[in-house]
Every structure is written in structure tokens, then in C-alpha cells.
Amino acid sequence: MGLLGVGASKTARAVALNPAVSRWAAARGVLRGESALGYIFVSPAFLYMAALLVYPLALAIYFSVSTASVGDPAGKFIGLQNYADLFDNEVFRLALRNSFVFTFGSALVKGLLGTTLAFLLLRSFRGKRLIRGLIMLPWTVPIALTTLGWQWMFDPQFSVLNWTAIHLGLIHQGVNWLGTEPYAFIAVMTVNIWRGFPFTAIIILAGLTSVPTEILDSARVDGAGFLTRYRKVIVPMIAPILFVGLIFDVVFTFGDLSVVYLLTRGGPINTTHILPTLAFQNGIQGGDLASGSAIALFMLPVLFVAVVAMLRLLKRRET
């Protein structure tokens, strides 16, 4: 405790050396002005988010119930007409379904791959840091750039995947990955899965390494087999961090425009559109702010569920 110096008061020493006393001090807000300082410290964040997040959110909701367009951003209020039009629109309905399949289907595969990889990374072995760095490449290189690489890998004429498959005798003719259904959808899901499984693995690994070995050992002594151990001991312990990772992943994937936009622009014939890309197409390329906003707002229900789930997790943590 060199910080205290020779002349430190008895109070200071007491506080420094006795955790109970310092907890009391903190709980009483012993040092005055805490409240005011607190508000001052959070006000920049509060103001910034109010101006650039809450206000635009409200504006988006307004757009969706109006006739706003790029040429006429004020528009007139027309109630839920935009939403009704969307429900009649086949392209929209497909995009909505695609968003769910894309997000949750990918999440499932990412979960399986990530879990397997996490267990493999539990062991220590030579060159582990390098291996881990290599395995994280899909996640650490910015998504638009790796998607570009995949776009080249899926090229209709020069795809290396096709070249390999043909030379292995698996197929006779190259697959036009990005130009035909259902390959295009498989392609976008593949890229999303490829990009995300390292993140899942690293999150699960963090959870696994935080399970104290005594707990694992005592479970082993009790005669529990691996699967039982996994279910009854490991899963509950890593559940919080797993949950957090899952929510982040779902939220990010659900709102991600880049993979689909770069690979297919939503094609062929609108079959790979997801909500973000359709919102972009209608809102920016079509100039229809109202329709674009309405489409984008359909993401809210899923995000709302994510919000509720996170809230319950956070509340449970506080108790």
C-alpha cells in the first residue's frame, strides 16, 4: 500500500485494509456529490443516444405510417397502409421468412461447429496461439472483405469450389452458386456460418474455462458420464455467457446487410432477400422511405424478444 505514504491517516489505513469498512463507505455514498457527478458523467452518453438513436427510431416509425419518400421526406400520415401493402407483397413475405431461416438456421450450425471447436481448443498443445489466431480469421477480418473473397470463390465461371468438385468427380458442370436457387441461399448462409463459428467457439470456450475444475472433478468422482456431466454441470455454468453470445449473434445476423448485398443483392429474382436488404432496396434504390422503414421495423419483434431475454438475464444477475 505504498500509495498511502507515511503520513496516511488511521481512517485511510482502515479503509484500505478492511474491505468491510470500504464497502460501508461506498454504500453510504460517503463522499458527497456522487449523485450529481453520476448524472454529469452519463449525460453525454444520454444526450448522444437520444439524438442519434432514439430520435431516428421515432422518425423511422413515423416514416412507416406515412408516405415519406426521398423526394418528399415529410409525407402525410396514412396509418397502417404501408404495412397492409407489405403483407400483400410476395417479395416481402419471402424476405421475412428468409430472415428467420437465415438467422436461426445459421445460428444452429454455428452453435454445433462452435461447441465442437471449443472442446477441441480446451486442450493445451503446441502452437495453440497461432492456431487460435488462424481459426479466428473469419471473424477478425472485416466481413465485407471476406465476403468479397467468397464472392470470388463462388464466381460463375472461375469458382474454385466448382473446379475442385469437378476434378473430384462429384459434379459434371459448375454450379452457378450466386445465380440459381437454392444454391444462392445456401451460399449466403455458408458465408454467414463461416464468419460466425469462430466467435461462437471463443465464447463457449470462455465459458468452459470458467467452470472450476473442482466442480468438474467432483462430478466425475460421483460417477457421472460425460454426457451427464455436460448436461447437469457444464451447461448450467456456461449458460449465461452462451446466452449472451447467442443474443449478440442473432441480433447481428438479423440486421446484417453486407453478406447478402455483396453476394446476391437479394437475387436471383428476390429469392435471397432478407429484411435489411429489402429495406435498402425499397428505401434507397427505390426512394420509398415509408416502405423501407416499414420493412425494417419488422425486425423489431425479434429484437424485442432478444431485449426481453437479455433483460431477464440481467435482472437475474442483479439478484
Binding site: 500500500m1 470500504s22 452519463v42 452518453a45 423511422a60 472485416p142 473473397g149 435498402f280
Partner: protein, 273 residues
């Protein structure tokens, strides 16, 4: 699982993760005829590899501008994020005031409002502010998605600073502000650095705002420039495209890797503690 099988499985994952990047690397160095010749083995070079795609990138495109833009946007975003986030993080970690818990939760929940929803109204906001079609539009807007997560991480890092040390200094005569600068901040440098790097990588990964707000080639960040502007007519110059993607992507990946441990620790602290 036997050791041999485990190593095989690990090798599978490494190949899976690395192959597309490997593909990008050799494409960047391959000569054009090699790229379109189906008769040669595509997994290695046929004609001698060269730097011509890289040279093309620097001499005939706005690549340098894009890299500069990304750098400026990234650094400014990090500075703003830290300037707003550190006080907020500290307050939520250490200070008691009414509404602090709700504010923390509220800030965190804003992370769940995606850019894909806000990009249309923000287009109008940015246009009204007169910064549309410039990199400053992105600087202004990027903290909306860096702040929530970064504040959450910062709360975790600040809470990890032992409160006894802070209390001791304050009871001894330091006021709180001085204590923050002399004790809390130095002790959380690793965490702050991690949050800064993470904010930078978030800014680099961003796509929809950059795509929507900026159309002048000279103002684009590198992810938009490389993926949108390196296509002439309908022809993709894959060699240069991959060269550009690598030059922009690999340094970020390396940087991210160094701080990965801290980053995961930050998530774990937030989730589990």
C-alpha cells in the same frame, strides 16, 4: 476423443477457417491469365506471382484515399466513444444515483436496435446536418453502435479495479476526479485499450451506413471503396480486389487478435459476474 482424432478435427477447422483467406492471398499475387485458366491447378501459382495487382491498386484507384478515410473514421470514432463512454462507464460502475441501473440497461438495450433500421431516418438527419456524402457523417453516427457495447465492457473493466485502492486514495485527501485520473484510469489501461480496439474493428465492419451516406469515391471507407468501386463496367478485377481486401483486412485481423483475450474477458465479466 482420442488425440489423433482430435488433431484431425482441429486441422479440419483450421482449413475451413483459413482456406478462403488463403484463396484471397494467392489470388492477389497470381497473374491474370492464371486466374481465368481452368486447366492449371488453382491452388498454387503457375505463372510467377507478382505485385502487379497491388501496384494497380495504388496507382489507378482511390485505394489510398479509402485507407486514409477508414483510418480517420476509425480513430475519430474511437476517440468519441472513449470520451463519452469512459465517464458513463465509470459512473455506472462506481457511482450511486437514481436511475443508474435503468440507464445501464437502457444503454445496453440500444445495442439491439440495428443500423439496418436506423439508416433511413439517419440519412435525413445527416443530410440536414450538412455532412452527407462525407466521412464525417460516419464519424457522427458510428458511436451509436460502438457506445452500447463499449460502455458495457468498460463497466466490467472499471468494476475490476479494486475499490479499496480507490477509496483509500480518496479518504486520504484526493478528490474523486483526481482519484479517477491517478488510480482508476492507469489501472484499467488494458481494458480501455481493448475497448478502443474493439470500437475500431466495429467501425471497420460497418457497412450499411457507409453504403448509404457516402457516394463520392474519395470519401468512402475502404470496405465500401474496395467492394463497390473496383468494378469497371461489369468486369471484376479480382486480383486487385483481393489485394485491396487483404491490405485492409489483415492488419485489422492481427490487431484484433492481440486484444482478443481481453475482449473475451470483458464479455465474460459482463455476462457472468
Amino acid at each position: 476423443m482420442t488425440s489423433g482424432l482430435a488433431y484431425l478435427a482441429l486441422a479440419f477447422f483450421v482449413v475451413l477457417a483459413v482456406f478462403p483467406v488463403y484463396w484471397m492471398v494467392i489470388t492477389a499475387f497470381k497473374q491474370d491469365p492464371d486466374l481465368i485458366n481452368p486447366r492449371v491447378n488453382p491452388f498454387w501459382f503457375h505463372l510467377r506471382p507478382g505485385f502487379n495487382h497491388f501496384v494497380y491498386l495504388f496507382e489507378h484507384t482511390n485505394f489510398l484515399h479509402w485507407i486514409l478515410n477508414t483510418g480517420i473514421i476509425g480513430v475519430c470514432t474511437v476517440l468519441i466513444t472513449l470520451a463519452i463512454g469512459i465517464p458513463a462507464g465509470y459512473a455506472l460502475a462506481r457511482l450511486r444515483f437514481r436511475g443508474s441501473e435503468n440507464f445501464a440497461i437502457g444503454i445496453f438495450l440500444t445495442y439491439l436496435v440495428p443500423p439496418a433500421l436506423l439508416f433511413l431516418p439517419l440519412l435525413r438527419v445527416v443530410a440536414n446536418l450538412g455532412i452527407i456524402d462525407t466521412k464525417w457523417a460516419l464519424v457522427a453516427v458510428y458511436p451509436t453502435f460502438t457506445l452500447p457495447f463499449c460502455i458495457w465492457l468498460l463497466i466490467g473493466f472499471f468494476k475490476a479495479v479494486p475499490i479499496e485502492v480507490e477509496e483509500a486514495a480518496r479518504v486520504d485527501g484526493c478528490n474523486r476526479i483526481a482519484a479517477i485520473f491517478r488510480i482508476v484510469l492507469p489501472l484499467s489501461v488494458a481494458g480501455i485499450l481493448t475497448v478502443g480496439i474493439f470500437a475500431f474493428t466495429l467501425a471497420m465492419q460497418e457497412f450499411i451506413y457507409a453504403l448509404t451516406f457516402v457516394s463520392s469515391s474519395l470519401e468512402k471507407p475502404v470496405t465500401i471503396g474496395v467492394t463497390q468501386d473496383l468494378i469497371r463496367g461489369d468486369v471484376y478485377f479480382w486480383g486487385s480486389l483481393m489485394a485491396g481486401a487483404l491490405l485492409a483486412g489483415i492488419p485489422v485481423a492481427i490487431l484484433y487478435n492481440f486484444f482478443l483475450d481481453y475482449f473475451v474477458q470483458g464479455i465474460a465479466q459482463g455476462a457472468v459476474k
